[in-house]
């Protein structure tokens, strides 16, 4: 019996509610015990809440909630629960769990710990809501709900100039792109007279004389997403913010926040601006995304190749990965295997959630050890921390797309989907970029394993929470190779539902 007949309809948003509730519980704990002397309780609550969300979202996904019998619509269609939203909630919840676990050690001896976890959970709530947004209004509100805590989190190390500067830069660019985004929404509303995605879709085809206005609106909305996903040309905040932010927050932003941007972009563009209706009018947004994808991955990869700082290299490579994921929007065409392409992109974002989070958390661990940030500082690290370096090696080679790791299959599926859709040149650019990326990823590996140590390491005690989080990410990256089948099938059927 389908699940939705047993539970009241509103329980479909349970994963989102659970994340929000966790945040409130954290604030409640803090108000009882304002000195935050119990980091284990705080981290435990955050991890528990995320894992619970993960379990519920995974259960709904497997049980077919919002998939069998169509999407569940709430509040007049403003919130939609379907395969896509649940799939992305799984990504956010796993990343949030790993980040919270890792923060336990990272935040040692810092103040405002409860606020930190509460903000992370609040941002995750916003991301989860973004993935379920069925109207441009909820898109905007949830985008802000995800962004505002992120600004604060980037600037969390308030005595550190880099962190504060990064937060400010992130905030300013974010505010501008929010304004652009809101203006884009208003233009689309002016043309179609609705904010609901499905109603926009039916009205946009008859825009008549207002095609130009609709086109400008769509481009502005695309700009808003480009900011959230750190795609060119709204990418320049990303290296600064990822570098200045506390490393767990860099992991959170570059994995979960980016995925949230894609979640909402997939839904808005696939549902509200159907290719069959919009492209003949002259608004060729897949072409726009194709250009963005090529420029983003090339620029991100070349910039990453020239870095001397590992965290900055990862930040730029994260821009490169936004370019790969953009293929999910760029390789769409009227009548093509659109569900396959977009689903492959979603599956890549899930794998990316593990491998990229893991890589940034490893950097968090290195920061915890106070080793330094350049490639040279990593020289010979494997002699002191072999297992952690093994995990980092898994992340690096997986990000580069080498077998036998999850990143290989997800990139393969993505490029393969693009070729199937006839966009073999996009796949070719992606493959070349991917081959190029091996150069800078393997530099980290070479430094850790092959180079001789330049100085002596004094690692001190093992940060248990961080260590476990890194291991979880590594095991996840490895297991996603054999388990990739169900993942990509779920993602592709969720994506196909959007085009139905």
């Amino acid at each position: 019996m389908p699940i939705q007949t047993q539970l009241p309809t509103w329980t479909a948003v349970a994963p989102t509610l659970l994340l929000g509730l966790t945040s409130l519980v954290l604030l409640f704990i803090d108000s009882i015990d304002p000195d935050s002397t119990r980091p284990a309780v705080l981290a435990g609550t955050a991890v528990g809440g995320s894992v619970l969300t993960l379990a519920v979202a995974g259960w709904f996904l497997l049980a077919g909630t919002g998939q069998e019998g169509g999407a569940i619509e709430l509040y007049g269609g403003s919130i939609v629960v379907d395969g896509l939203s649940l799939f992305f909630t799984v990504i956010f919840a796993s990343v949030a769990a790993m980040v919270s676990l890792a923060s336990y050690d990272y935040l040692q001896d810092r103040t405002y710990q409860a606020e930190f976890y509460a903000l992370v959970m609040l941002a995750a709530t916003g991301m989860s809501l973004m993935a379920s947004s069925g109207s441009l209004a909820t898109v905007f509100v949830s985008l802000e709900l995800a962004s505002l805590p992120s600004y604060a989190l980037v600037a969390f190390l308030k005595k550190n100039r880099g962190s504060v500067e990064a937060g400010l830069k992130y905030f300013l660019v974010g505010a501008v792109s929010s304004a652009v985004f809101a203006f884009g929404i208003s233009l689309v509303y002016a043309v179609t007279g609705s904010l609901l995605l499905s109603e926009v879709a039916s009205a946009v085809g008859s825009a008549g004389d207002l095609v130009g206005v609709a086109g400008v609106g769509i481009v502005m909305i695309a700009g808003g997403f480009a900011f959230k996903t750190a795609s060119v040309p709204f990418h320049f905040w990303a290296p600064e913010a990822y570098e200045g932010a506390p490393a767990p927050i860099s992991a959170f932003l570059s994995s979960a926040s980016k995925a949230a941007g894609f979640a909402v972009a997939f839904r808005v563009f696939a549902v509200a601006f159907p290719i069959d209706a919009v492209v003949p009018m002259g608004i060729d947004w897949p072409l726009l995304f194709a250009v963005l994808a090529v420029v983003t991955m090339t620029l991100g990869n070349f910039a990453a190749a020239t870095q001397e700082n590992v965290k900055r290299m990862l930040a730029y490579s994260s821009i490169g990965h936004a370019g790969y994921a953009l293929i999910g929007l760029a390789a769409l065409s009227g009548g093509g295997p659109n569900g396959n392409v977009m689903g492959a992109s979603m599956a890549h974002l899930l794998v990316y959630g593990f491998m990229n989070t893991g890589a940034f958390l490893f950097i968090a661990m290195v920061e915890h050890w106070e080793i330094g940030r350049t490639f040279e500082d990593y020289n010979g690290l494997a002699t002191r921390a072999p297992v952690a370096c093994l995990a980092m090696t898994v992340f690096m080679f997986s990000l580069a797309g080498l077998p036998p790791f999850g990143g290989f299959l997800s990139k393969y599926a993505l490029f393969y989907g693009a070729i199937q859709g006839g966009f073999w040149w996009l796949a070719a650019v992606g493959a070349i970029n991917s081959a190029l990326s091996l150069f800078y990823y393997s530099r980290v590996v070479k430094a850790m394993w092959i180079e001789d140590p330049t100085g002596s390491f004094d690692l001190g005690a093992t940060p248990l929470g961080l260590y476990v989080a890194v291991m979880v990410a590594a095991v996840g990256t490895l297991l996603l190779l054999p388990a990739f089948g169900p993942v990509v099938e779920t993602a592709q059927s969720a994506a196909t539902a959007l085009f139905a």
Binding site: A344, P403, I419, K446
Partner: protein
């Protein structure tokens, strides 16, 4: 399920060894690596396949489990062995164990990581030789590179970083070329295949179902894909002119790693050539018969000439691999039972003999700390047993009867002379046979100068006989080489069964 068990046991063993303390990592790795040896020998004793895994006939220990589906193509976990792959599986397990034992004497840094990587490499090699689905095969194929990169880069000689990166970049680009070539073929087959199953693809290709792709006509597509795949595998073999990574990698790699590199990794290239190029596209291969045979002959002669010019004993053995693998290519292009079967047999024989050579050179290096032919002299006085084994190995390389190398080379020459793929094949064969003379020349020359005469190495330490755990692996290898030389039919029968169906294609053989 025995294949899965072998791979899984080796994987788990590699993780276990990685976490073990350094003091007993080597012992633990050797003990654990005996399990796959026993398993592969059990497979050999119960082997009941007839025919070729790709072109029909029964496959032994076969499993097919659906894995995932991507855009209309199913990927399966499909493994199994036939008469071509089983000997290579046995070779892999045996050489891995022996290489691990021989490493006890020479590896004293980060041992648990070293032995863990060796076992990890063994697991992936087993996967390469047993996978029958292209995707599964490719995952294993690429995964072999990673441990090799570290094994050379961390434990190698003075120029190890250069050698490791050169190896990694060369073989990785080659894999990319091969991958693109193969995927182009699969797309070109269109609806006639619905999976990346190698037997299915081989069947469709041999049946001539290739269509055009993106406007490229089928004939051009076939030739381009053939060349792309050939280049991809040729780097791994390696054949002239793609051999330059090999001496660097060999000289810098520690001896046990050289054993694996020469003994098993090079076989991946010829095995893949046989499985993909020569099995799936026999007509195209015969069209390219002259250039391929030419490349083979050049590899034989040029490799031997290069070996002749070397001063470093390890480099001599390394270059002679280029030469020996040239014979294998010659046998493959002959397209006769003896040619292709002999090539397969020669893969095993060369794996054992080059393993023996690298290992014994390594043993000498451990005590003398030099490999230069000019520095060494009269080693026979100080290390009589090792010297005897080294000389025996050299004779094996030269193709002395009753040793495995003789059987392999004999089959290849017999097959290549009888070959009808091109009128000039007997000529190519005759020229290639001249390589034996050069091989005998440089090996005897090197032996004469290093082993015999009076000992004159000036050292501060004692140069004496090798320890027991250095000698035992050498003895085991020598015994295997002689057993296979006396009774090649231990493997050759099953190889022939697997090779014969390959030759049965409608193409023009004249």
């Amino acid at each position: 399920m025995i294949i899965e068990a072998l791979i899984a046991i080796t994987f788990v063993a590699s993780m276990g060894v990685l976490l073990a303390p350094d003091e007993w990592a080597g012992r633990l790795a050797a003990a654990l690596s005996l399990l796959p040896v026993v398993g592969s020998l059990y497979m050999w004793s119960r082997f009941d396949a007839t025919g070729n895994a790709l072109t029909g006939g029964s496959v032994a220990f076969e499993t097919t489990v659906p894995w995932l589906e991507l855009g209309g193509y199913t990927l399966n976990w499909h493994v199994g062995v036939d008469g071509i792959s089983l000997p290579l599986v046995v070779l892999t397990t045996l050489l891995s164990t022996l290489a691990i034992v021989s490493a006890w004497a020479s590896v004293d840094d980060r041992q648990s990581q070293f032995y863990g990587l060796m076992l990890f490499m063994e697991a992936n090699l087993l996967g390469v030789f047993t996978a029958l689905d292209f995707f599964v095969w490719f995952v294993f194929w690429e995964a072999v590179l990673l441990p090799m990169y570290f094994l050379i880069g961390v434990w190698g000689g003075p120029r190890r970083k250069y050698a490791a990166i050169k190896f990694f970049v060369y073989t990785n680009i080659a894999s990319l070329a091969m991958f693109i070539g193969f995927i182009a073929l699969v797309f070109g087959l269109g609806d006639s295949v619905s999976s990346l199953d190698m037997p299915a693809i081989a069947g469709a290709l041999r049946a001539g179902e290739l269509g055009s792709l993106f406007g490229v006509p089928a004939a051009t597509l076939r030739s381009v894909a053939f060349v792309a795949m050939f280049l991809g595998f040729a780097v791994k073999v390696p054949i002239v002119p793609f051999h330059t990574w090999l001496p660097d990698a060999h000289v810098e790699a520690p001896s046990p790693v050289s054993v694996m590199l020469a003994g098993v990794l090079l076989k991946m290239g010829t095995y893949a050539l046989l499985r993909f190029n020569f099995t799936m596209m026999p007509e195209t291969a015969t069209q390219f018969a002259v250039p391929i045979a030419l490349i083979a002959v050049i590899s034989v002669i040029y490799g031997a000439m290069l070996a002749l010019a070397q001063q470093d004993l390890k480099r001599i053995v390394a270059y002679s691999s280029v030469s020996s693998m040239g014979y294998v290519i010659l046998g493959l292009i002959a397209y006769t039972t003896y040619g292709v079967g002999g090539a397969t047999f020669q893969m095993i024989a060369h794996g054992l003999i080059s393993g023996l050579m690298f290992m014994s050179v390594g043993v000498m290096y451990n005590t003398t700390h030099t490999r230069m032919v000019g520095d060494m002299s009269g080693m026979a006085d100080r290390m009589p047993v090792t010297t005897g084994i080294l000389v025996a190995g050299a004779f094996g390389y030269m193709g002395l009867p009753l040793m495995a190398g003789f059987a392999g080379e004999f089959f290849i020459f017999k097959g290549a002379f009888a070959s009808t793929v091109h009128a000039a094949m007997p000529l190519f064969t005759a020229v290639a046979m001249f390589g034996i003379v050069v091989v005998a020349g440089y090996l005897l020359f090197a032996m004469q100068r290093t082993l015999f005469g009076s000992f004159r190495l000036e050292t501060d330490y004692e140069v004496g006989p090798a320890s027991l755990h250095e000698t035992v692996p050498l003895a085991v290898l020598l015994v295997t080489i002689i057993v296979l030389g006396v009774a090649p039919d231990l493997f050759f029968g099953m190889i022939q069964d697997a090779v014969d169906p390959l030759l049965d294609f409608g193409g023009d053989l004249s």
